[in-house]
Assembly symmetry: C2
Homo-oligomer: 347 residues x 2
DNA sequence: TTGTAAGCGTTATCAG
DNA sequence: CTGATAACGCTTACAA
């Protein structure tokens, strides 16, 4: 059986080349490679062999065009992947990646919250059909020129931020409850005077955690609550510590809205010779892995990143498969992990 | 001018719809939208207006198929995005993302070094044409079934690992030099007995840093060097500290291959009442941002992540544009940042 | 079970 | 400057 040697073009062999090599039609190649059972075992073997010999891999653009799907899920991040010690998003990303890849999807990453161009870019991705679904870690769903991610028709899930009131399925933690429980625990230890070191005003997490803290103290006339606003970063933690040092009398327990804040806060106190937890108890938020190894080790509200990530994957998959109903709001509990930075106040 | 109202199909308007709406041919629409100047200002305006009205965005799969490019750059990561406190990769990713997006590219993320399936997945991405280029942060270029990323024809750049001997352009730091300088600095402070807390045997960074340390001590007959192998993680740092505590006489200066190791090492020492830097000096590697806020703050070899990232972008862009020559090896200097964890030994 | 052929939405070529 | 048309590589009716 002689066969004309044809040059395989740069960019790899096409389905035509394989068909020729195996002596069958392109449709048969397609079937042999994608719908097992719809082709005789014998020809299937021949096709596979030919495909192997030619190093054939189906062109994704052609397939996507034909089937109208891309298998790509867009991850929209709110800027840097992690600030300081906190790795909540990075941890979730690993799980999401693992699970989605196992299901045959790919992950496209986009940062946002930076410039208008970034938003435009994300929308373009969605409207050009490169994306079968999107997971957003940003409180603001991208929107520009009257078009929005939400209106793109692309299935959308929100992670960590509750956007269920806009009809976007959201997987969140019970920030508020966890914050309340934390304060309650501190009250139980004997603390009465608190400092809340918060995030940016209006930020979803700030609002939730602040509310939780206030709820816990609402009916305690014997307690006080000071407030120190900021970002979630180290610098804000240092600044809060400065304010703390200037205050009098000083609170005995401090709730920080992030581990970064808590770490910087403690450091600043150490510089002034104030020891944690002997003189002040400090709690962070995020459950950063480094917390265990600090001196003192950091008490923190730990977010169950793996579980959240799995729920998100489940939600986006259901949505992309046009499954019946998807929960609009899924809550996964966070809980306080007590370590050395918390103790009973000196009486 | 009456026009038949046609239903725009789900998935958005196509170029045909726009052509009909504007009363021109599809080719004209394509030109108006992509090659400005090849169409009269008047019709261009009409096309743009029509496209806008219909909310048209060109289908990416169709375009990719036609032009043979995707504008997607694959990022191959060696597993989790960051271990512990170190954010070297995360920091670089932000810069790479920003720059590539500004140039019109998208970022596809793939984790590897986990299972065979992950490698197969990456190769599939490359061979199916979804990827115009790839940046790998893994020492091992994916390879399975005789096919490899390197052989896929996809432009490839290695970050942090020197793969130039395989013909892959690499952007790395001078790990070896930085390690040597660090030890030399410690010698200058008066230290003579060292402990090197290393990474996995054979790992590129381990080899380089270890070599640098040994080079610095090669001609110093008055110095000693102990060795404690491990991973780059917290646990290995703790384990190394255990070994350190059991040793006698103890080294007075410790070089850790990662900040995570250094942090855990110091913590374990604190548990035994040994103070840093009073009794031992400790240096980490990575320049983690949290280092500044530890007690004591951590001396560390800082990698210039932004610069590395920019060099990588430049290299991959050049490669994708078939630019003349691309440097096979670009070295960006890392350097020691001294903080509180280092001091002169007690005499 | 297999082959033929249409068509996915673009862009590029070639006429006009 | 613009229009008609081919082609990119694949999947999927439909026919044989």
């Amino acid at each position: 059986m002689s066969r004309a040697k044809r040059e395989i073009p740069a960019g790899g062999a096409s389905i035509q080349d394989v068909a020729r090599e195996a002596g069958v039609a392109t449709s048969t190649v397609s079937r042999a490679l994608t719908v097992p059972g719809r082709v005789s075992e014998k020809t299937r073997a021949r096709v596979l062999e030919a495909a192997n010999r030619l190093g054939y891999t189906a062109n994704a653009a052609a397939r996507n065009l034909r089937v109208g799907r891309s298998g790509v899920v867009l991850i929209v991040l709110p800027g840097p992947l992690n600030a300081g010690a906190s790795q909540v998003i990075a941890e979730m990303l690993l799980v999401i990646d693992t699970e989605l890849v196992a299901l045959g999807y790919s992950l496209l990453i986009a940062n946002i919250d930076r410039q208008l161009n970034a938003e435009r870019y994300v929308l373009n991705l969605a409207f050009s059909g490169v994306t079968d679904g999107a997971i957003i870690f940003s409180s603001i769903p991208p929107e520009v020129d009257g078009r929005s991610l939400a209106s793109s028709g692309v299935p959308l899930v929100s992670a960590l931020f509750d956007l269920s009131d806009r009809g976007i399925p959201s997987v969140v933690t019970n920030d508020r409850q966890a914050a309340r429980d934390t304060i309650t625990h501190l009250i139980g230890l004997g603390h009465r005077n608190f400092l809340y070191v918060g995030g940016p005003r209006g930020n979803y997490h700030e609002v939730e955690r602040h509310s939780g803290v206030r709820e816990a103290l609402a009916e305690r006339a014997d307690c006080t609550l000071a407030y120190s606003p900021g970002e979630f970063d180290f610098a804000s933690g240092s600044a809060a510590a400065e304010a703390f040092l200037d205050s009098s009398p000083r609170p005995t327990a401090v709730f920080c809205c992030s581990d970064d804040m808590a770490i910087a806060f403690i450091r600043r106190l150490a510089d002034s010779g104030i020891r944690v937890p002997d003189e002040v108890s400090v709690v962070g938020f995020d459950g950063s892995s480094v917390g265990t190894y600090l001196v003192p080790s950091l008490s923190s509200v730990r977010q169950p990143t793996n579980l959240i990530a799995r729920k998100i994957v489940q939600a986006i998959i259901d949505l992309m498969k046009r499954k019946t109903e998807v929960r609009l709001r899924t809550v996964v509990p966070s809980s306080l992990v007590i370590r050395e930075s918390v103790a009973a106040p000196i009486r």
